[in-house]
């Protein structure tokens, strides 16, 4: 990743402009809006707080582990195991599909922008990698540490869904941006925890779960097929 420092890579990966396909996913926001669980900025704040501590925490953990492994030249066996361990922590089919769709988009965009041996090895082991794993490898390729990779993954777990809420409910973008900014301390904590776990064996990585997110993802998938939804997840 010649010419780009770690800081720039982290910014580019977290940028909504990054062409990884994240903009078509609402992270459960569309279903929660349809169910009347999010009607305004206050509900959104609480939804994102929960999402950060479940989906965000899981994604941060796997991004940090991937960044740690990429810096250490992990081989094919590691990437295959990491992939299976994230599958095991994602019981919802819809969430696995969303993660792999974004992973594939991020892999394609990442390969076009930067060259990385670890990225090539990851793509050989898992042609359709999970999103946080690709993020971690790309962040590491630029020299970012596991904590930086975890910050990107945790941030994307709330920033994309917040934009979806603006589109779905016509919320005030300034107020929604303030909500995301208000999660900074929580996000720091999540990224710090993830970085502390990054060197663990994949089997021992944390496995945070949130049943409401799983059920919203499955309900979204059903309604997407039955009557159409704006977002893919």
């Amino acid at each position: 990743m010649a010419g780009l420092g770690a800081g720039t890579a982290v910014l580019a990966l977290a940028d909504a402009r990054f062409p990884g396909g994240g903009h078509v996913h609402s992270g459960g926001v569309e279903e929660a809006v349809a169910a009347g669980l999010i009607t305004g900025v206050a509900d959104l704040r609480e939804f994102l707080f929960g999402r950060l501590h479940a989906a965000g925490r899981l994604q941060a953990v796997f991004a940090a582990a991937a960044a740690h492994a990429a810096a250490g030249d992990a081989g094919r066996e590691y990437w295959t195991r990491l992939d299976a361990e994230l599958d095991a922590r994602t019981p919802s089919c819809a969430q696995r599909a969303a993660s792999r769709a974004q992973g594939r988009g991020t892999l394609r965009a990442g390969r076009a922008a930067w060259s990385s041996g670890a990225l090539a090895r990851l793509a050989v082991a898992t042609p359709r990698p999970h999103h946080p794993v690709v993020l971690g490898v790309l962040a590491a390729a630029a020299g970012a540490d596991p904590r930086g990779a975890a910050l990107v993954a945790g941030y994307l777990a709330v920033s994309g869904p917040s934009s979806a809420a603006v589109r779905l409910l016509g919320l005030d973008p300034l107020a929604v941006n303030a909500v995301v900014a208000g999660l900074a301390a929580e996000l720091d904590g999540v990224a710090g925890d993830a970085a502390a776990a990054a060197a663990l064996d994949p089997a021992d990585l944390p496995a945070p779960s949130a049943p409401a997110l799983d059920l919203l993802a499955e309900a979204h998938d059903r309604h997407h097929r039955e009557k159409g939804r704006l977002f893919a997840s």
Partner: protein, 258 residues
């Protein structure tokens, strides 16, 4: 209180009936075989899990080790809800259940609800180690607080492995009111139900409805999930989810009702 109970079942010498190989109760975990100690040929041997004292309370470390031998079929059923209560010194309570199933063996682990009482700090850990070709059905009903009270805190951790490969790993933490209320976490539900099903054919596609789902896992097996404000509704939703599993729909080789 520290206690470790264990149970081993296996096929008899004719390889037809499941019998008890070894049974060690350890207060407060009491294991009681139902209707004698021998199962019908090809059928499940039912053992009841009886709470023999007020447990668990803070400081308790309870272990249950279960081994199902090749071709044997064990149905382990609860007889009453488990109520986790705080101890005197603020220490947590822990209940760890480890189920190992050999090739072509079957385990049905169907405990009653675990209620996390006010101020309790309870950690439940369930590990299911399946051989290739083994079948399992493993249920959990977690109730956050007795009626009208705020729950304490705790976690429920589940690991399911088949032939050493992970099928499911989950850790649900409860006890932070803001997370409990968040639509992105527990959505205000008081009762959380789940049932792991590794039973012959997996569902080809997920099914879902109002606060329930049945989803095939990525590497085999499936999990049913439900959430509700009360236990009866959570049970009904969980039963609806489980009812979409092919083993229930075919009715030819149906998991028993616990």
């Amino acid at each position: 209180m520290k206690a470790a109970a264990s149970l081993r079942v296996e096929l008899d010498a004719h390889r037809r009936r499941t019998v008890i190989g070894d049974l060690r109760s350890a207060s407060p975990i009491r294991l009681v075989p139902r209707r004698g100690k021998v199962a019908a040929p090809g059928g499940a041997l039912t053992v009841c899990l009886v709470e023999s004292a007020a447990a668990p309370i803070g400081g308790d470390r309870l272990d249950l080790h279960v081994r199902v031998g090749a071709g044997a079929w064990l149905r382990l059923v609860g007889t009453g809800a488990t109520l986790a209560l705080p101890g005197h010194d603020g220490d947590h309570s822990r209940v760890r259940v480890h189920l190992r199933v050999d090739p072509a063996g079957t385990v049905e682990y169907l405990p009653e609800a675990t209620v996390i009482g006010a101020r309790a700090d309870h950690r439940a850990e369930t590990r299911l180690d399946l051989a290739a070709g083994a079948r399992a059905r493993c249920r959990e009903l977690l109730v956050l607080g007795r009626h009208g009270e705020l729950p304490g805190r705790g976690s429920s951790t589940t690991h399911v492995l088949r032939d050493g490969a992970p099928l499911l790993r989950q850790r649900l933490e409860v006890g932070r009111p803001r997370l409990a209320a968040s639509a992105g976490h527990l959505a205000g539900a008081r009762v959380l139900g789940s049932e792991i099903l590794v039973w012959d054919r997996d569902p080809a596609a997920p099914s879902s409805g109002d606060w329930w789902s049945l989803t095939p896992l990525a590497h085999g097996g499936s999990v049913a999930t439900s959430m509700a404000g009360d236990t009866a509704t959570a049970r009904r939703r969980l039963a609806e989810a489980v009812g979409h599993h092919p083993a229930h729909r075919d009715r030819s080789d149906r998991p028993g009702h616990g």
